[in-house]
């Protein structure tokens, strides 16, 4: 029999915090969902001896508070009178712990990391009469988590699992069975002054060392350019100047590779970006493109409603490296950042939708095979989803579209894409800056968080990244951003400012540097509101503290705009003015800490020639091996991670807020059918809508980057057309995530993909309006480098003329006819079927650029004419998966004949049934048509590839007959639905 003893909480020589401690637990008779989740994760890690875990929300409060004040705070603010119990511990005392608790783990954010709950407490107390400290000083608060565990566990084992389940040591500290948590601010020492850097006489070796040690991420060539510049000026640079140059010239901000000179197999490319992506848009010259490639996001015309012409804008960003080391914070600030991009488009757009796409390693990876320094893909995926959820939901922006892709090569370098769609009036599409305008810094305060994010994102990750780059990670505070949004849109409509941009990578240095590019600026860094004292001028200037915007305000509007932000409880501080000096001048008090020539800053980047090589992959084409049991293969594909239901993710996002949702991510009789794309109706007084979709396929990318890029565009367009979007009013976005492009083969595949983008965009008449590239996505473990597969995410934004004409993918009524639109080719390279049968290589699908655009237009016209009851696009898993999804989403049967499938001539290695079922050829759809519209639909699709395959039935079974009439698939739709939701679910 074991005996329970009281926990001796205070250890010898432990220094207990000089602060009141409050820990709020759920009433002991209530379950604790956080504890249940922790136990499940313990079990996953093999720590099964812990039998109970309960979470206490911990608060540290100024020691000068009276006990009665602390008790009032507990009762009024910290604890729920029905659900919670609280434990109050006086300063310097040890808490009294229940005897059954064997271990306590305390988790607290590192000093200086955003603690928004503490801010809320401080604000609330300051504005109430609840609590007073004996010395009248403002009351300070910090929060922590107190985990109480029951069950015996070895201390080392406890440390191992606690570090994985409870904390991320990049941003948090742990105390295991210790109580000496700190109650301190980050080193409040005196301000470090600005310093000059000895550069003019530095050797090349010293330049390289300087760049690396300073985390500047500048190449030798660039450092030499800087050295030459300062030799010309006959002085040394200040640290602020060098940091500004590093931020501005970073790959993240400047896209040096994509816009650089390239030698591609001997052919000279002056500027790949201008020669492909931008060129397509320029040649297409669509009148509905209002602002492209020059602002934070691309703007296209939307709809006139009442007196106002409305436009929509769209931006998608990557936040890969921060998410690799802190998935929750990285994804949250990723979505926070792209929302600010949209708030800073033109004079500001209202965010109306978010999108998110994640590329992660295998979710069932054995722990033993996890490379050193990596987080498990499961933990990364859970973290990024929670990060997007908590930020997007709190901002009140519906998250409506996205995807998850799994591949072993994302283990060390996951990809996180976040997008935001915005709505703005036409008059707000353009911005400007005039000399004399006040530089107004709006939003969150500046701390030491996120120093060197822009330069960090431009380097490769390795097993030590999480140690050295913790300062590059930030934690977001969505409610501060919501306050900024609320004030900003009010100030915009009163036309109180002339220009705006967000503080993203590079912080103030990028924002002010960019806005002042044509005129000049003078900034007084000591005026920037800080979270805590002690920041050096350079730190203030490059900090990437979140939730900040920079505005150019005509002096006569300054009082009015500050009053608006004050009403929203938002800091709005003048930090300088725009000038006409063509110089960026920084001051800290009386000291001039930087004087940079803006022309050199923006145009001085050297443009070296980079070498790119196309690789000829000689692979045998495995064709389409025959399938002994197509039904079993179909069930396996439905459960594979890229195809399986994402419902467990979708349900965690508020996709209904703002009340504009017209077609949702999940549709059908039980709302479990994977919709093609989302449609919103953003204006209350117009039935026009926007359709949002995306396409990506990294499996194709390794085999054939050209086809991959072209197919990704085709997929994004299929998604929006299938819900009712107009292909002739569709804009697209490119987001390239590539490996290390210093490698000529990697760069060669980037050239091919970019060229495919040009050709495909022009063929479809769908211009690019915005994009971003993230290069150097690789992970180094020892001598081995794991490079991600070339990954292009294409996002599409299509105009919907009338949301009432939209369609969904679920089968609607028995008796309706079902057609395949589009031609099936022997294209199984990178397909799910080949992966299922363990084959590699093959011909990657690519759209027929002569026919595909016509196909989309014809289908769109049929949809708008009301001829179509449901449409589902054929993508991963081909016809088989599309038919299964259409059937179970409608909880109706389908009966299809493969002999009818429009099929190109096949080589002998292509099995007739397997090809028709599983080929992933582009520009194909399954379409359901009522009998009364059959003739009209046939007329609409005249000269297009299409054929009737069968019909919707009320049998509740998917029945597919092979080319010779034999039954090849016969499965109940409930079994299909079960397989589809049978994958990883959080």
């Amino acid at each position: 029999m074991s005996t329970v003893t009281a926990q001796p909480v205070q250890r010898a020589r432990e220094r207990l915090p000089e602060a009141w401690r409050v820990e709020v637990f759920r009433r002991p008779d209530l379950d604790d969902p956080d504890g249940v989740r922790a136990l499940r994760e313990f079990a996953e890690l093999g720590a099964r001896s812990i039998t109970s875990a309960r979470l206490g929300r911990g608060f540290l409060l100024s020691p000068k508070l009276e006990r009665t004040s602390v008790e009032a705070l507990v009762q009024e603010l910290f604890a729920d009178p029905v659900l919670d119990v609280a434990r109050v511990t006086a300063p310097g005392q040890a808490p009294t712990i229940d005897r059954a608790v064997r271990h306590r783990v305390l988790v607290m954010r590192k000093p200086g990391v955003m603690d928004s709950v503490a801010q809320t407490i401080e604000r609330t107390i300051a504005r109430s009469t609840l609590a007073k400290s004996s010395d009248g000083a403002p009351i300070r608060a910090l929060t922590y988590q107190a985990w109480e565990l029951v069950g015996e566990v070895d201390p080392r084992e406890l440390e191992r699992v606690a570090k994985r389940v409870f904390a991320n040591e990049v941003i948090e500290d742990l105390w295991i069975d210790r109580e000496d948590v700190h109650f301190t601010l980050p080193d409040d020492h005196a301000v470090r002054p600005s310093v000059t850097v000895v550069l003019r006489d530095a050797s090349d070796d010293e330049l390289v060392r300087l760049s690396r040690q300073g985390c500047l991420s500048l190449t030798l060539l660039e450092m030499q350019e800087v050295r030459a510049h300062y030799r010309g000026l006959e002085r040394e640079p200040s640290d602020c100047e060098l940091e500004t140059i590093a931020q501005t010239w970073s790959e993240h901000c400047k896209h040096k590779t994509f816009a650089g000179k390239i030698d591609f197999d001997g052919e000279h490319i002056e500027n790949l970006f201008k020669d492909t992506i931008q060129r397509a848009t320029r040649e297409l010259a669509k009148p509905w493109c209002i602002s492209v490639f020059k602002d934070n996001a691309g703007i296209v015309a939307f709809e006139r409603a009442g007196e106002t012409q409305w436009d929509v804008c769209f931006k998608v960003e990557t936040h890969n490296h921060p998410s690799a080391i802190d998935p929750y914070g990285g994804a949250g600030t990723g979505i926070g950042g792209v929302i600010r991009d949209v708030l800073g488009v033109g004079l500001g757009a209202k965010p109306i939708a978010n999108t998110d796409c994640f590329f992660v390693g295998p979710l069932d990876l054995e722990d033993a095979r996890l490379p050193k320094g990596c987080m498990h893909p499961r933990r990364i995926l859970r973290g990024v989803i929670a990060g997007v959820r908590d930020y997007g939901n709190r901002m009140g922006i519906p998250t409506v579209n996205g995807g998850v892709w799994v591949d072993p090569r994302y283990v060390g370098n996951p990809l996180v894409y976040a997008g935001t769609v915005g709505l703005l009036p036409r008059w707000a599409a353009e911005k400007s800056v005039a000399p004399g305008d006040v530089i107004l810094c709006v939003g969150g305060r500046t701390g030491r968080d996120g120093i060197h994010g822009a330069t960090f994102s431009s380097i490769e990750l390795d097993e030590d990244s999480s140690v050295v780059s913790s300062s590059a990670v930030q934690i977001g505070d969505p409610i501060t951003e919501k306050r900024v949004r609320d004030g900003l849109l009010r100030a915009r409509d009163l036309r109180l400012y002339r220009g705006i941009t967000d503080c993203g990578a590079g912080g103030l240095s990028s924002a002010v540097g960019e806005m002042s590019a044509e005129c000049g600026a003078r900034v007084h860094l000591e005026r920037v509101p800080l979270k805590y004292p002690g920041l050096s001028p350079a730190e203030i200037w490059i900090s990437e503290a979140q939730e900040r915007m920079v505005l150019a305000v005509p002096p006569e509007h300054l009082d009015a705009i500050r009053a608006i932000f004050a009403a929203e409880d938002v800091d709005a501080t003048p930090i300088g003015e725009f000038t006409d000096t063509k110089k960026l001048e920084l001051f800290y008090g009386a000291q001039r800490v930087a004087e940079l020539d803006l022309h050199f800053l923006h145009e001085g980047t050297p443009r070296p020639l980079r070498i790119a090589r196309s690789t000829k992959r000689v692979e045998s084409d495995p064709g389409a091996p025959p399938c002994a049991n197509p039904g079993a293969a179909l069930l396996a594909l439905l459960a594979s991670p890229n195809i399986a239901s994402k419902e467990w993710i979708v349900r965690q996002y508020d996709h209904e807020v703002q009340g504009t949702s017209a077609i949702k991510a999940l549709v059908g009789e039980r709302e479990d059918g994977p919709g093609n794309g989302a449609v919103l109706q953003p204006l209350a007084d117009s039935r026009a809508g926007v359709a949002i979709g995306c396409g990506a396929n990294p499996r194709y990318g390794v085999l054939d980057p050209w086809a991959m890029a072209s197919a990704a565009i085709d997929e994004a367009l299929r998604n929006v057309v299938a819900v009712g979007g107009d292909p002739e009013r569709t804009a697209i976005l490119d987001n390239f995530s590539w490996g290390n492009c210093a490698n000529p083969e990697q760069l060669g595949s980037l050239v091919l993909a970019a060229r495919a983008c040009y050709a495909t965009s022009v063929a479809f008449g769908t211009p690019f309006i915005s994009g971003k590239d993230s290069l150097n996505n690789e992970f180094r473990v020892g001598d081995e480098v794991i490079s991600i597969p070339p990954t292009l995410l294409v996002s599409a934004l299509a105009h919907v003329h009338d949301v009432a004409q939209c369609v969904t993918m679920d089968a609607k009524s028995a008796g309706n006819r079902v057609a395949q639109v589009g031609m099936t080719h022997g294209e199984l390279g990178g397909s799910h079927y080949l992966a299922h049968v363990g084959q590699d290589g093959g011909r990657v699908p690519r759209p027929d650029l002569a026919l595909a655009p016509k196909q989309l237009v014809a289908l769109h016209r049929a949809i708008r004419a009301g001829l179509v009851r449901s449409v589902h696009d054929l993508s991963e898993g081909g016809l088989a998966v599309a038919a299964a999804e259409m059937a179970f989403a409608g909880r109706l049967g389908l009966e299809l004949a493969l002999s009818k499938v429009p099929t190109a001539e096949l080589a002998p290695t292509y099995d007739a049934n397997a090809t028709r079922l599983f080929s992933e050829s582009c520009t194909r759809f399954l379409v359901e048509v009522e009998e009364r519209h059959v003739a009209a639909f046939e007329a609409a699709m005249k000269e297009r590839d299409f054929a009737w395959l069968g019909s919707v039935t009320n049998t509740g079974r998917l029945i597919v007959r092979g080319v010779k009439g034999q039954t090849v698939v016969d499965l109940p739709v409930e079994e299909l639905a079960r397989a589809h939701r049978g994958g990883f679910a959080g």
Partner: protein, 267 residues
């Protein structure tokens, strides 16, 4: 011909940092025939008399102050410490109060749903973390119960979305539930779409007796987790492509009845 002088119903919609359903709430009130007036809580704290000109008071959904100390806690604290008497007088003179989602959490926190004068430590109601342990957004069906609520039509079914992490309705003990029943305060329950008793996910959060919304004993204060204001158009419904033609979303009826009732009570 005699004309009936119709008095415009004014609705005060409260917002603060983190409120995010104000757009659709104002739209619903406007389409239901009232004049919504969006006010920051600070304006109301400074001038509680603002409420005198209104006959409806709505606390919309969102994450007030980030729900940093608990769902609705800080806004609830502001209201209970500085506006409780103002609101009790407002209800006593026939004003209607609605809290949706975070607004419901706020109303529960204020104690207003338990009737005048209930002290915080006597409170019996709570909205707890969903049984699933996380935020959930999905469409559900509500059934209006025979309750004291001044404007719900008993027996009516209403399809609406929920979107919350803390919507599990709980009571301190069985006596509290009994009191709610005696006072006819159970206004709305989650049911299956055919009206029968719901289990997860039709009841999305594990609420006791599938309670989705309750009113105060007077029937003039109503709080509910789901969002009727997100079902205003014929195209909000998740299965509208499977349904026959509808002229409007079912949520609009909910707001129209509330406005009509406010108008009648004000006469």
């Amino acid at each position: 011909m005699s004309t009936v002088a119709t008095r415009t119903v004014h609705a005060l919609v409260l917002r603060t940092a983190g409120t995010n359903c104000d757009r659709e709430t104002c739209l619903a009130l406007e389409r239901a025939g009232s004049r919504p007036d969006l006010k920051h809580v600070q304006e109301l704290l400074d001038r509680p008399a603002l409420l005198d000109a209104h006959s409806i008071f709505v606390v919309p959904g969102g994450f007030s102050y980030g729900d940093d100390l608990g769902a609705g806690r800080v806004l609830g604290f502001q209201i209970r410490s500085r506006l409780r008497e103002t609101l009790e007088r407002f209800v006593a003179r026939g004003g209607l109060v609605l809290g949706v989602c975070n607004g419901f959490q706020v109303l529960v926190d204020t104690g207003l749903l338990e009737g005048p004068g209930v002290m915080r430590r006597e409170r019996g109601l709570a909205l707890d973390v969903n049984e699933s342990g996380h935020f959930e957004c999905r469409w559900v069906t509500l059934k209006a119960e025979a309750s004291a609520c001044a404007w719900l039509e008993p027996g009516e079914l209403l399809p609406v979305p929920v979107a919350h992490g803390e919507g599990r309705f709980r009571v301190r003990d069985a006596r509290v539930l009994e009191r709610l029943k005696q006072n006819h305060q159970i206004a709305l329950r989650y049911v299956r779409s055919d009206g029968s008793r719901a289990e997860y996910p039709d009841c999305p959060n594990g609420s006791v007796e599938e309670i989705a919304g309750i009113c105060d004993p007077s029937g003039r204060v109503l709080g509910l987790m789901p969002h009727p204001e997100r079902n205003l158009t014929p195209w909000n419904h998740p299965r509208w492509t499977r349904l026959g033609p509808r002229s409007e979303g079912e949520g609009l009826r909910f707001y129209r009845r509330m406005v009509e009732t406010a108008s009648a009570l004000a006469k």
